[in-house]
């Protein structure tokens, strides 16, 4: 499991590789926030193309970043979701407040 950061079109791109559960989230959420603060980006886009599992801990992580970016006048969105992750977004109702894009490029253009 790993997390990497890129910047594109005024957005912090968070690339996650692995399975997102409580164990993973506890280790990465602070580093995501500190990257956003250090780099001065108010928009966060999660790139989930290398994520094949996510439970409700991932939902909590996304909602937490949504609140963080909203407070700073930005947005949080997600891209490249597998069918499994889309289902979690639907079951949780998260799709109502977090936009889902097919690609990171689409997500950055929408900011």
């Amino acid at each position: 499991m790993s997390v990497g950061f890129k910047t594109l079109n005024n957005c912090l791109i968070v690339e996650i590789d692995g399975e997102i559960d409580h164990h993973f989230v506890d280790n990465v959420k602070k580093s995501i926030d500190s990257q956003a603060v250090q780099k001065g980006y108010s928009n966060i886009i999660f790139d989930f193309k290398n994520v094949d599992f996510m439970d409700s801990a991932g939902i909590g992580m996304i909602i937490g970043r949504y609140k963080f970016t909203k407070k700073n006048g930005g947005i949080t969105s997600v891209a490249c979701l597998s069918d499994n992750l889309k289902r979690i977004m639907m079951v949780s109702g998260l799709y109502r407040i977090i936009k889902i894009y097919n690609t990171v490029e689409e997500a950055t253009k929408a900011v």
């Binding site: 399975e19 409580h22 409700s56 937490g64 079951v91 949780s92």
Partner: protein, 141 residues
């Protein structure tokens, strides 16, 4: 009830064991020849229940989580139990978005996801004694 096969698993209530637990149950379920999507549903439900034991029952402290799995025909039965602090009000705990730990960014959706991904779920709990989550899933229906 007669089961075609059964297994038990006990492990320390630490977050690094969440993946171990869900993968172990998924491996047991393979004998029922589930679809990939069914495997993911089982893994997700197990992950939710085990995480609840670690975070809520033991409050990230010492403890053991127990899993029992059985299968009969095309049905998978899973029991996940702990000897933690127990749930004061199960009905409230199972309400969507209810969480006692909002400061830890818990979504309060664990039971909702278990209910969505499994055919049946029952929760029993006793304060100071522990909690048991029993889940059932029909494979290939």
């Amino acid at each position: 009830m007669f089961y075609d096969n059964e297994m038990t698993l006990s492990f320390r209530a630490i977050s690094s064991n969440e993946a171990f637990a869900r993968v172990s149950v998924a491996a047991f379920a393979l004998q029922l020849d589930p679809a990939v999507s069914e495997i993911t549903e089982i893994k997700t439900a197990v992950s939710e229940a085990v995480t609840n034991s670690i975070i809520h029952a033991y409050d990230n402290g010492d403890g053991i989580v127990h899993i029992w799995c059985g299968c009969a025909g095309n049905k998978l039965y899973i029991e996940i139990s702990d000897n933690g602090k127990g749930i004061e009000n199960i009905e409230t705990a199972m309400e969507p978005l209810f969480t006692t730990k909002p400061e830890q960014e818990r979504s309060g959706l664990g039971f909702t996801i278990m209910q969505s991904f499994m055919n049946n779920i029952e929760v029993s709990s006793e304060l100071g004694r522990g909690t048991k989550v029993t889940m059932e899933k029909s494979i290939g229906e």
